[in-house]
């Protein structure tokens, strides 16, 4: 075998694509020819080096924008739009009913101001999350791409905490009237929970004790969690916010919502401020929890309301 042919066959040889006899001939030539052996070794080094270079993950903002666009452009969404021409024919029939419903609804509590009735899940960032359409329905896992209609209940199953990326750029945001579980159902029998909400606009909050209205600018809400009670909090519109530049940990263990600054070792109840809503630093959040476990384990008990 000539050297030029041997060197041309090095690439398919590395990939195992050569017929056995040809591979044998190349190997035999390599064992006898120092120059080709040097080329083969050098190529192998280049290839291994190149394969050791890997691109980093996409930036979160780019990734989120891509997935949202893809979900919005999905064939199913388009087919929904394509069915739109049916509406003009139905519009005249249902318009009077809708008009009455809207007027009555607005009198019953701001129906006209509500958010869009459904929202797509872009990603389940953290936790195992399930949803159901009604109290009697069975729980189903949430998958990226699911479209949640208004009124659906969302429940975190893993550790009392769930982070969802929603279409539209919010994290852990829920459609109107939806329910976010903040406490693991299996661990809340003897725990107490507390939620502090501050809002720049009036919010409607659903609690086990009934609906509470949080007025503008204040609205501290304390929930006492009793035995066997399903604790859930739902805020009209979006539910959970995170200050984008704060390096904090969110712990929902034992029903307490608290922030922990690992540098100052300060634990404070979380205040949700709708003015600071933005992209949740999901990785930061997960890393912060892990870091606290590794470097400040003594602080973890401080998150428990029993202390």
């Amino acid at each position: 075998m000539r050297c030029s042919r041997c060197q041309r066959l090095l690439s398919p040889l590395r990939e195992g694509l050569l017929p056995p006899r040809t591979a044998q001939a190349v190997s035999s030539h390599l064992s006898q020819c120092g120059a080709c052996r040097e080329v083969a070794e050098s190529e192998r080094s280049v290839v291994e080096t190149l394969e050791g270079l890997s691109p980093p993950p996409l930036e979160a903002s780019l990734r989120g924008a891509l997935v949202r666009r893809m979900i919005r452009e999905a064939p199913e969404s388009r087919s929904r739009v394509e069915r739109a021409p049916l509406w003009p024919r139905l519009a005249w029939a249902v318009a009077p009913v809708l008009l009455v419903a809207l007027v009555v609804g607005s009198l019953w509590g701001g129906l006209l101001n509500r958010q869009p009735a459904e929202v797509a899940i872009v990603n389940v960032v953290f936790g195992e999350v399930e949803h159901r359409g009604s109290a009697n329905a069975s729980w189903r896992p949430i998958q990226p791409g699911d479209v949640l209609p208004a009124g659906v209940q969302v429940m975190s199953r893993s550790n009392g905490m769930a982070i969802l990326e929603m279409e539209g750029g919010s994290t852990v945001s829920l459609a109107p009237e939806s329910t976010l579980s903040i406490v693991d159902r299996g661990r809340m029998s003897t725990d107490r929970g507390r939620v502090v909400i501050r809002s720049v606009r009036p919010l409607r909050v659903l609690t086990p004790a009934g609906d509470l209205h949080v007025p503008r600018g204040s609205g501290r809400l304390a929930l006492d969690i009793g035995e066997e009670q399903d604790v859930s909090v739902s805020v009209t519109g979006y539910s959970v916010a995170w200050a984008p530049n704060a390096y904090e940990a969110l712990s929902l263990d034992h029903g307490l919502v608290a922030s922990l600054d690992p540098r100052s070792a300060r634990v404070t109840p979380i205040t949700w401020d709708v003015r600071e809503w933005g992209w949740l630093h999901t990785l930061e959040l997960a890393r912060a929890r892990q870091m606290i476990r590794e470097t400040h384990p003594s602080l973890l008990p401080a998150l428990s309301p029993e202390r």
Partner: protein, 193 residues
Amino acid sequence: MTDARDLKRLGEALRRGDPAVYAQIVDHFGPGILHYLFTCVGHRETAEDLLQDTMLAVVRHGRRLKHPERLRAWLFRIARHTALNWQRRRRRHPDMAASSLEEELPQGHVTINRARDRTQRHDLRRILEQALASLPSAEREVLTLRHFEQLSSAEVAQVLRVRIGTVHSRTHRGLKKLRRHLQAQGHSLENLL
């Protein structure tokens, strides 16, 4: 994701129009496609725009995916078409502008997993990227797909629509030139590693 069964499962979900698969496709293939587009156009922001165009084309044409097990090659082929269309629109020479690549490369786009420290990583990355940028586009494209994105030779052949023998010969020529370029610059891989 290299498992053929996983690839096939993703491809089948895409063909069904299942939106749950989009996030997985972006996570598994987005970084590699972005890097490939970057080597094609030489501009980070343009590459990100083209990545978006690529992913939207994936959504639009997902149902036409004939061979789900060839999903990776199909994705890169769409990315390549997107880049070529962009180049046609810009009426640029089909060969890529090495100078623009070199301008952007020191800012860091690719990370290395194996090198021992940050300085070493940076140097090795810069040197290899610049060496790649010095190659003719046909050979750089093959080396990028074959060894950066780790497509098989058969997949590279599908992406480029050439015979597998052409892939091998371009790989051979590309590696040879890469080696010479590194030597001419006074680098040896043994020292770099």
